[in-house]
């Protein structure tokens, strides 16, 4: 099927460069979530769209070769578990559930504001994995073309 082989050579070549820029932008948005607009969720969607770019350009077969969907699902649930674990740590070290128990640092610095960047990274990773798994599952499910009845 044509779908599995991806698009033309031009698209593939452009993707090879652009996808790294997309990933870079996603990571930038996640890491600077506490200083500039954006944050974990936005960055995570950007990363997922980067993965999607690879899948659309190179075809599903190529993605199946090197991406481990089971591993992605596991990363997703472990990120969620870590989020909850951080919340419980906040309960024991800070004042309550999900308390910000690390040092707040200096305003406008990248390494500041305690647990907020950590939570952003967790959310970003989780969202990117989750959304890609969903798109992949929707794409894999091939359905017999109906309507003859």
């Amino acid at each position: 099927m044509k779908q599995n082989e991806g698009m033309t050579l031009i698209v593939k070549t452009v993707t090879r460069v652009s996808v790294w820029l997309i990933f870079l932008y996603g990571i930038y948005i996640i890491l600077h979530g506490h200083l500039t607009p954006g944050g974990g969720f936005a960055g995570g969607v950007v990363l997922a769209l980067g993965f999607l770019n690879i899948m659309l350009a190179y075809g599903r077969k190529y993605v199946e070769g090197w991406l481990n969907i089971k591993l992605m699902k596991d990363i997703e649930s472990s990120m969620a578990t870590l989020f909850l674990a951080l919340g419980i740590l906040g309960m024991s070290f800070g004042g309550g559930l999900l308390a910000n128990f690390l040092s707040k640092g200096e305003l406008f610095r990248l390494l500041s504001s305690g647990t907020i960047p950590i939570l952003n990274i967790l959310i970003g990773t989780k969202v990117s994995m989750a959304l890609f798994v969903v798109i992949y599952s929707l794409a894999v499910l091939h359905i017999v073309k109906g309507g003859e009845k």
Partner: protein, 186 residues
């Protein structure tokens, strides 16, 4: 031009776009019209000084378009002509909704007017969030510190939705038997 004028312009455009999307017969066109409405929301967020939301809404829009097109484009899409009872339903619901709209006009006058929110709780966040949490982005400070418990819920919602969607998509064992019994009933 003041913000309100721009917003009236964008909102009218969005209403027209939504009606177009709902009434068009062609599936691709209506999905694209919805995409345009979503971009309108994103631009309105920019006018309303919510850059975080504008980014997220824009990305959500791209994502939703891809999901919808990917899922539905190659499917067979034929609807039969609407029946008489359906036209009756359309008229009834339009009348009901218009009357709800007219009844609600006065309610919005009782709310604080546009551009003058009360901001009793939020004043505290604006003045103290940066000092207390160390985050310059106050929206981030709220979602990941003051109201981080909400974000735990949000992460769980996404987790549940993904798990649910995968559960629904990966039920292969019944696929054959169910299509058989759908043949039986027809």
């Amino acid at each position: 031009m003041p913000v309100e004028t721009w917003l009236i312009f964008i909102l009218s455009f969005m209403i027209v776009g939504s009606i177009t999307a709902l009434e068009l017969k062609d599936l691709l066109s209506s999905i694209i019209s919805i995409g345009v409405v979503g971009l309108g929301v994103s631009i309105s967020f920019l006018f309303l000084q919510a850059p975080d939301l504008a980014i997220v809404q824009f990305l959500f829009e791209i994502f939703a378009l891809i999901i919808l097109i990917r899922a539905f484009m190659r499917r067979d899409y034929h609807l039969k002509e609407p029946s008489r009872s359906h036209k009756f339903l359309v008229i009834i619901s339009i009348l009901t909704l218009v009357s709800i709209f007219v009844l609600s006009i006065n309610i919005f006058k009782l709310l604080p007017p546009f551009g003058q929110p009360l901001m009793e709780t939020s004043k505290y966040y604006l003045d103290n969030a940066a000092r207390e949490t160390g985050a310059a982005n106050i929206v981030t400070a709220i979602i990941l510190d003051y109201r981080a418990y909400d974000t735990l819920g949000e992460v769980t919602v996404l987790f549940t939705a993904i798990l649910g969607a995968l559960t629904i998509l990966h039920m292969k064992r019944h696929a054959k038997s169910a299509s058989e019994d759908s043949n039986e009933t027809k």
